[in-house]
């Protein structure tokens, strides 16, 4: 009966309360959303690469190198020569290497040119290797392997043919139409930038950039192992070492490489740097969303206090039929609580819808992979805090009503 009374009383004032409800819902949506995106992007960043000891590229900023080599964001401003790559990887402490050549695209998705070692050594998450959903790694110069999302979005299957455009962007002017690539394999979803990439052979990329080379190609013998096409330059490469202890030694060696200026980064360290940089942004976001929440709760309070006047009659009625002042106090508290819980439900629903709609945008534009399931330890804690804040805030109108109810009968 108590809850029914609170519910009907709220319903009785629904016109003004709906605005508060919306304001509160929106602020809870923002708060939960920011928190979820923050946690998810942290997780998504952290799992983007694993097992790689060093990433080497032409000298630029470490963050820049990390962003384009691992997250496929931004573009490299310089390449490094094939020769340097060869020399460094022949160092006895190097266990494996993955060359990367970045700069082409297919319908808005990045093309990463590499060799077969990419499928053998690249790891993400907790040392998880890439796995094939269908097909296998490329065998010929004009084969390509698709990330899970590329295949799903563009509807490609193993055996389909596609063209690769020079440059990045879905409407590149210059299409390399002379040769079409064949889909040879499709990778399982990883939740990293790999899902949004096409992986081609280094030779394949050389061909589409070099007309002469392309003309001299023998269409009947495209097998990779028979091809004598060599790259002149690559964008970056990943290194795995025999022993972790040599990482710094090798990093120093590469940084002092005499033939060209190179940069070697430890992905974990640079990721932390990246995260640290985003940290202040993230704190500002949290602050803003907390302020939004506070203003919404204040708005709710203002409304409850303003309503108190028109509710004097209602409180008096309740008192006359025997409600105690404590009952009135609890009634106002319960109303605020019901409103907050309803707002949380609405906010959560909005967030769920928004995440489902925004997932692709975020992963496409920022390389952040967000799951739509935002209910976790942190969000439940956050919800508890919101509830606590609402209960504390509701004390104000509740005390007001309590004090009013003490004198209500004497009027």
């Amino acid at each position: 009966m108590f809850i029914r009374l609170a519910y009907k009383s709220l319903l009785n004032r629904k016109e003004s309360l709906i605005i508060s409800l919306i304001a509160l819902s929106v602020s809870i949506f923002v708060l939960l959303g920011v928190e979820h995106i923050r946690l998810q992007s942290k997780e998504s960043f952290a799992k983007a690469i694993s097992g790689t000891d060093l990433i080497v590229g032409a000298r630029s900023g470490p963050l820049n190198l990390l962003l384009y080599s691992v997250f496929h964001i931004g573009s490299p401003n310089n390449n490094l020569s094939w020769q340097s790559y060869q020399e460094i990887t022949q160092h006895p402490k190097v266990k494996w290497s993955i060359p990367l050549s970045i700069g082409d695209s297919h319908r808005g998705y990045r093309v990463i040119a590499s060799n077969q070692d990419y499928f053998k050594y690249f790891q993400y998450g907790q040392n998880q290797p890439l796995q094939f959903e269908q097909g296998h790694a490329y065998e010929t110069v004009l084969d390509v392997v698709l990330g899970a999302e590329v295949a799903q979005r563009l509807g490609y299957k193993v055996g389909d043919k596609l063209h690769i455009a020079h440059g990045i962007g879905s409407s590149s002017f210059h299409q390399h139409d002379d040769y079409s690539f064949t889909v040879r394999g499709i990778l399982k979803a990883t939740g990293t930038a790999v899902d949004k990439s096409l992986i081609s052979s280094l030779a394949g990329i050389e061909i589409i950039h070099d007309k002469q080379l392309a003309n001299s190609l023998d269409p009947s013998n495209l097998k990779l192992e028979n091809s004598n096409i060599t790259s002149h330059s690559i964008t970056a490469f990943m290194l795995g070492l025999e022993r972790k202890i040599d990482i710094f030694k090798l990093q120093r060696l590469i940084s002092n490489y005499p033939k060209e200026p190179l940069l070697a980064i430890l992905p974990g360290v640079t990721l932390k740097e990246l995260w640290h940089m985003m940290g202040s942004l993230e704190n500002i976001l949290r602050l803003v969303s907390a302020l939004v929440l506070i203003s919404a709760i204040l708005g709710l309070l203002a409304l409850q206090m303003a309503n108190a006047r028109e509710r004097k009659q209602e409180i008096k009625l309740l008192r006359v039929i025997g409600a105690s002042p404590i009952y009135i106090f609890s009634l106002v508290q319960l109303e605020t609580l019901l409103l907050t819980v309803a707002s949380m439900a609405f906010g959560a629903l909005m967030l769920f819808i928004a995440l489902n709609l925004g997932q692709n945008f975020l992963s496409g534009e920022y390389g952040i992979y967000i799951s739509a399931n935002f209910i976790g330890h942190e969000t439940i804690m956050l919800a508890a805090w919101i509830l606590l804040a609402a209960i504390l805030a509701a004390c104000l109108p509740a005390v007001q009503a309590y004090r009013h109810s003490l004198s209500a009968l004497k009027q």
């Binding site: 029914r4 009374l5 009907k8 309740l318 025997g322 105690s324 009952y327 009968l409 004497k410």
Partner: protein, 191 residues
């Protein structure tokens, strides 16, 4: 008992004193041998909830609750949640000529006469010893007023409950045995 007097002479104030909603500056008010002035405000609340029922000029119904909810709310406060509550609520409403379809409507959607009947049902379901009524029939025409008084009286007899009504309507006097003019009471008090 009927107390009559012109509007504004203090009849309602008198009832409010009796019900403990107003506290007198001096003197005592005894109901069933209990001086309610001496009770704490919480005890007053309880005493009022358990022993006194009243019907006011305004019916004191919560406008957005329906008839049944209004009655349940009150019985919750008076702590008389008898298990037969549901059926007796229905019976009472039907005796007061309030048909079932109205029960689930918010009382503000009911007519004045219907609201009044809900208020009476609520008052009587407490099985009070004393019913205070402040101009309960002011909204009714002559015929309905007489019907209403007859129903009320037969219910009161059943419940063994005394009625103290104040009104300026002299026509009601026909229904009462003990009739006092408010001025006379005041006069006696002053003397």
């Amino acid at each position: 008992m009927l107390i009559h007097g012109p509007s504004g002479c203090g009849k309602s104030t008198f009832l409010n004193l009796l019900s403990g909603m107003l506290t007198p500056q001096e003197g005592e008010i005894c109901i069933h041998g209990q001086d309610i002035v001496k009770l704490s405000s919480r005890q007053q609340d309880r005493f009022r909830a358990q022993h006194i029922a009243y019907i006011f000029q305004q019916f004191n119904l919560i406008p957005y609750l329906n008839a049944i909810e209004n009655i349940e709310l009150e019985s919750q406060f008076s702590g008389s949640n008898n298990p037969a509550g549901k059926t007796s609520t229905g019976e009472m409403l039907e005796r007061l000529n309030l048909p079932n379809p109205c029960w689930q409507q918010a009382v503000r959607e009911l007519s004045i006469g219907q609201q009044q009947r809900v208020a009476i049902a609520r008052a009587l379901l407490k099985k009070p010893k004393l019913l205070l009524a402040d101009e309960p029939s002011s909204a009714l025409d002559a015929k309905n007023r007489d019907d209403f008084m007859r129903t009320l009286k037969s219910l009161l007899t059943e419940l063994d409950c005394s009625l103290l009504m104040v009104s300026h309507d002299e026509a009601l006097q026909a229904h009462f045995e003990n009739i006092q003019a408010f001025e006379n009471i005041v006069q006696r008090g002053v003397e």
